[in-house]
Structures are given as structure tokens and as C-alpha cells.
Subunit: 419 residues, 2 copies
Amino acid sequence: MSPQQVHTVAEAAKNAARALAGVPTERRNAAIRMAAELIGQSRDQLLEANVCDLAAAQLMIDQGQLIPSTLDRLRLDEKKIAEMMQAMLAVAELPDPIGRVSQRTELDAGLVLERIICPLGVLAIIFEARPDAVTQISALGLKSANAVILKAGREVEQTAAALVKIIQQALGKAGLPVDAVTLVAGREVVHQLLAMNDLIDMVIPRGSRQLVEFVKANTRIPVLGHAEGICHVYVDKAAKLDMAKTIVLNAKMRRTGVCGAAETLLVDRAAASTHLKPLVTMLLDAGCEVRGDETMRAIDQRVKPASEQDWSTEYLDAIISAKVVDGVDGAIRHIERFGSHHTDSIVTEDQATAEKFLNEIDSAIVLHNASTQFADGGEFGFGAEIGIATGRFHARGPVGVEQLTSFKYRVRGAGQIRP
Amino acid sequence: MSPQQVHTVAEAAKNAARALAGVPTERRNAAIRMAAELIGQSRDQLLEANVCDLAAAQLMIDQGQLIPSTLDRLRLDEKKIAEMMQAMLAVAELPDPIGRVSQRTELDAGLVLERIICPLGVLAIIFEARPDAVTQISALGLKSANAVILKAGREVEQTAAALVKIIQQALGKAGLPVDAVTLVAGREVVHQLLAMNDLIDMVIPRGSRQLVEFVKANTRIPVLGHAEGICHVYVDKAAKLDMAKTIVLNAKMRRTGVCGAAETLLVDRAAASTHLKPLVTMLLDAGCEVRGDETMRAIDQRVKPASEQDWSTEYLDAIISAKVVDGVDGAIRHIERFGSHHTDSIVTEDQATAEKFLNEIDSAIVLHNASTQFADGGEFGFGAEIGIATGRFHARGPVGVEQLTSFKYRVRGAGQIRP
């Protein structure tokens, strides 16, 4: 795409956003439902486009340009299409975030201030591999009355183009501006998108840590997202061993590829003699590689040596780093130094220790006696999430429709002037 | 200051912020009150420092390096010191924004999610001329449990240093970390501050449009602020002339130097024959310069010709640009093109027209039948404001203590794992 074309797309998106802001809930929901329906009717077309992407991806894998696991994330089938449709329909059912009055004050007799929720404007989403990013983000965008510009990785371009075409048909049928959801193509357009702070209001990178870091380093547009989820479980001396085992196993092994999966196990030195061996043995027996220092390796010879790098590594795999720390203070220091402000959990029966951990750990999500794998917008009751934010600005934790909004102040008077 | 010294200050601020987050309300309020009290006891010292700044500023003015009006903003006297103290005491009285649970959901039996308000961390404030920026921002920072790094313009450096020294004494006496409020000096430190995105969480520029634009263009740290307040009053055909006159006069002339002052008057073509001349004559008679096109000049020969530049100029003076537009749609188009998303007002008796304006104008504050000069955190009941934000991210409109906070999610369970 030429720079001029990309600029035209962004301007059209801005205009669409302006129009969308005035479209009532029912019509935005109707467009989402229509898109889901058309996707269901276009299975063959979608699978065909996906086959092209898969074939091209296989070539890239053969040439070492893509990792083999990309195929799994890229592949569409009947089940995945049905899931995409269901997820869109679920978004249509969510309460409308737009137009809600979140604050109301009478400033003076007959002079009323209201704070009203409104859309952000234009969202640019830069994503890799997963076709369901298109449907999910388009649905959340329409729900929050924001226009969406999608930039798909080249490995998913054909599938993304087929999906966007269908969504645009639905927009047309529902009488909404078709430019509310658009696709731009080509690696070279990313820099241009990131520079358009006059037209784009938010950038959401979805993909590898490298992608997120690249986006954050190259734009002045606000970015919602997180580069890494280095999540910790700290097992305190006052932890029940059974509960600790259940939580650690779930936090690490339920799904190893999600951002809320635990990557480091911290065990209180005061509990090392009782809790450490059972926890490490359980993980090893469950097929999890454990990396630790000499103390840790003395417990079980299957433990591999950990390097300094391990404490700041997001494995996204059946691997965990493990360490003995000096109580909750030691755990807090370790997490502060190596964590990524995403999700961290403490297992303890001591309320005061738990409160200290919940207060002092500076992460989007902190848990007491629960698995880090709860870190998810769906679990939080947000209906759907676009990702998890680890910054402290605007949104933090799961990003759902509420986080895709802004607000403005409306003042209605009867001729009042300021004295 | 050397780069190393600035880095040391920022690291100390980060540590202070961490400690502050755990300090209860009463102790933070006590520190604010103590600072106000010590300022009252240190009048002579403050006036002495201020005299040095004034003398240096006079020299710079003589050399054409500063504009003469700087002296007014820079000058301290008994009255201004009393006002600074009062403003600090008022901040101490505000409700504490920190620790409030803004959302609570039971995710599962015995698994409770809470969204809890917490501080942002370290705020860097880059300001010019006004000594009261120091006291106001330090008070708001302490109130919201954020550490504050102040970078004062060189014209106010002696006064700022004297104030920060007193505030640090108060912090010490109240048992709070003295690095919660620090001052850095020298024009060369600005670039370094703006690059410290690992230590600084928010930048607030307070001063000229040039300063704000420079800050926005040179940092990836979130910036709260606005470069310009190009505020409009649109007088619709359905406006009562008397109300329009009252509002226009107040919006422009109550105080011409505030960001909520009107800079452009838009009059509906359908009301031009009845409303235009009285409005323009009133402004001219009140000593306001009016700039407009030939049509406008035909009304009164005192009207000066407007150039294209006038529509995007924030005069901050007794000058207004005036234009006839084609109804509310013409007004919306004009404001969209030339406005700064700050504050805009419509005068009309027609509810539907008013709603259209309130919905479609994309500004932080939109008003119906009220003066733009209401754009103020104090007027909005926020107690005190650090400025007005025109972005759509995180904060919009007046920035008070609520906008200086973030949140995190706490989950308390009894051993729950995710299925």
C-alpha cells in the first residue's frame, strides 16, 4: 500500500468514527450480529483464503522465517469459525458503554454538569497470526463506537482480508460506514500508522514481545498492551501445602501459552524444608521443566541450572524458574526487580502477609490464594478482552469495551455566566 | 545539575513514591498542612528569594529575553502567599482518592475481585514563572500519594527552591520521605527527564503553548495538558439576544488570560440580521478588539480584518475573531477544523440544536447556554486542578486528584484455580 493509500484509509476511519459516535446501540449491535451471520455463511470462502495463508506460512517455516507453532494459531476450521461467531454475538449482548452518564453535579441553580462516556475515536490494531483478532477487535470496536484499522501480519493477510470484506458487507447492510473497519497491508505501513497521531487515537499491538516493544518504542500515540507476562506465585511459610500445590500446578500448567501463566515460583525460606520438595517434585512429575540454583538442584537432580536471564524470561511453555526467598519482603523485592507488572499471586493463610503482598506488589492484578490464570477479561466479567495492559495510564489489566472509551463534560445552563 | 544528579533525584522519587503509597491519609494531609504552616512562617525568606528572581527577570526583560507580563506572574506578596497557603489547606480537606474500591465482583463462590484506586507513581512537572505551581502541585501530589519532581523555569528558580526546601522540611517533620517533592534545575535536564520512562509515570507541562508542544513532541511518557484553549461561542438563530450578549461578554472578557476564555464568536447566518450587530458593538464598546471578514467589517468600521491565522489563534487578550456560519452544522465544521478540543459553548433555545452541538463537538467540555469561563476544576467541584487536558486518554477536562491516580485489581480467594 502506498503512503497516500494508508493516509486515505486513516482519514476515512476518522470520518467513520465521527459518524459511528452518533449511531444508536441497536444499530451497532445489529451490525455485529449481521457480521457474525455473514461469517457463518462464508465458511468456504474463509477456509479457502486460510488455506492460501497456511501454504505460504509452511513455506516460510521451511525457510526458517516463521516458527512452526504459527500454523496452529493461523489455522481456521469449522470449530474456530463457530467460536469466532459466538464471541461476536456475545459482544453484541454486552451493555453499551457509550452515552452513559458517569457523573452528574448541579454546579449552580439550573447549571448541570454531566460526565458522559464517549468513544476514543480510531483504534489501530497491529497483530500477528490469529484470525480471531479480526472478528474480536472489530466487534469490540463497533460495540464501543470506535473505528478500527487492522494491520495484519503477512502470514494471516489473506484470511484477514476475507474477514474484513465480510464485516464491511455487514456494515453496509446495517447502514453503518464501511470504513469503520478497514485493513491495511504491508510491513512498511507500520511506521506510517505509528506516526499518524493526528488521526489515530490508540494503538493496540497483539503478538510477540518484540512486536509490542517495537510499537511502544516507535509511537507517541497511546499504546495499550503488554510486552510480557512474567507472573509469579509466592508460597509463604503460612501456606497450606495442598492449596499451594493446586494453585502452582494450575498457574503454570493449565495453559502454558497464556500471558497469565506463572513463570516463576518463589518459596519462603521458612517453608523450604516442608514445601519446596513437594512443589518441585509435583511440577517435574507433571512434565514441567524446573530451573533453579544449586540449592534447588540438590532437591531433585532433574532440576536444571537457572541463569540470571531466567528470572526475566516469559517461557510460555512447560518451564518454570524456582527460587527460595526471604519471606514476603524477599518475594516483593524479587517481583519488583524481575516482574512485568502483570499478574502475581501469594499463597498464605496469614492475612497480614497477604495484605502486604496485595498492597505493595505494583502489578495490574494481584491475587491471594488463587491461580494467576484468572488473569482474563472473560473471567473478570468484562465479556471479552482485547488484551491485558500493564501500564498505569488509562487502562490497567484486562482491556474490554469500557477501556476503549473516553468521556466528555456536558454543561447545560440557562444563561449562567461565571462571576 | 549533572545527568547523574538528575538520575539520582528520579530514583529517590521512585522510592519515595513506593513508600508514599502505603502512608495513610491523615499523615499525608498532616504533611500538606504542615507545609502550609511553614510557608506562612517563612514569608520573609520567600519574599527575599522572590526579589532575586524578580531582579533577574527584569534584566532578562530589558534584554528582550522575557515578556514584561512575566513579572506579574512571578511576583510574590503577602496576599499571594496567603492564597497559596489557603489552596494547600483546601487540598488537605479533599476526600482521599487512594484506596477506594471502585468495583467489586464475586467471580466465584469465595473468589472476590476488587478494583482499587492507587497512585500513578512519579509525576514530573515542567513549569514556568508561577510560584504557586510549586505549592499547588506538591499538595495535589501528596494528596494522591504520588511523588513529584518539579522542573522550574529559570525565571522562578530561586523562589521555587525556597518553597521546595520548606515543603521538604514539612515532609521530614511529618515523617514522610523528603524525596516525595524534589526540584531539578537547568534547561538541559528537560530532555533527560522526558527520556526517563522507566522512572517517571506522567509529565505535566504548565506554561506556554511552545512548552507544551515541545514536551509532547519529545517524550513517550504520558503527558497531561493542553497546548491551547481555542474556545468558541456559537450563537444560534434560536438564541435569545440578551442571553447571548451576557454569555459572549463573560466568555471573552471576564478574564481574557485564562484557557477557558472565548477566542472566536460564531453567529448563525439566519440570526445575522438581528444578533450580529448588537454582539459586535457590545464587544467593541467593552474594549475588545474584533477581527472579521468584509461582511463583519461592514457592520462596524472598528472591526479589523481577520487573516486565516486568526481562526486558530489563542489571543489570551481582549481580542476576538468573529464569523458568520451556516447554522449549527457550519459551527460544528468550523470548530472541528480550528478548535483545540478544549471548551465550546452554544447559545440557543432550541433543544434539538443544542443536543446536536453537545453530541458532535469533540471537546473536553461542551456547554449549552453557559459561559466557557466555567471550564475550571474548582468550578467543577474538583477542589483544585493541575490544568485542563484535551486528549481523550486517561484524563479529559480539569485534572484534579482523581486524575492523578491509577488502579489495580485485587483478587482474594480460598485456593481457587481456573478450570
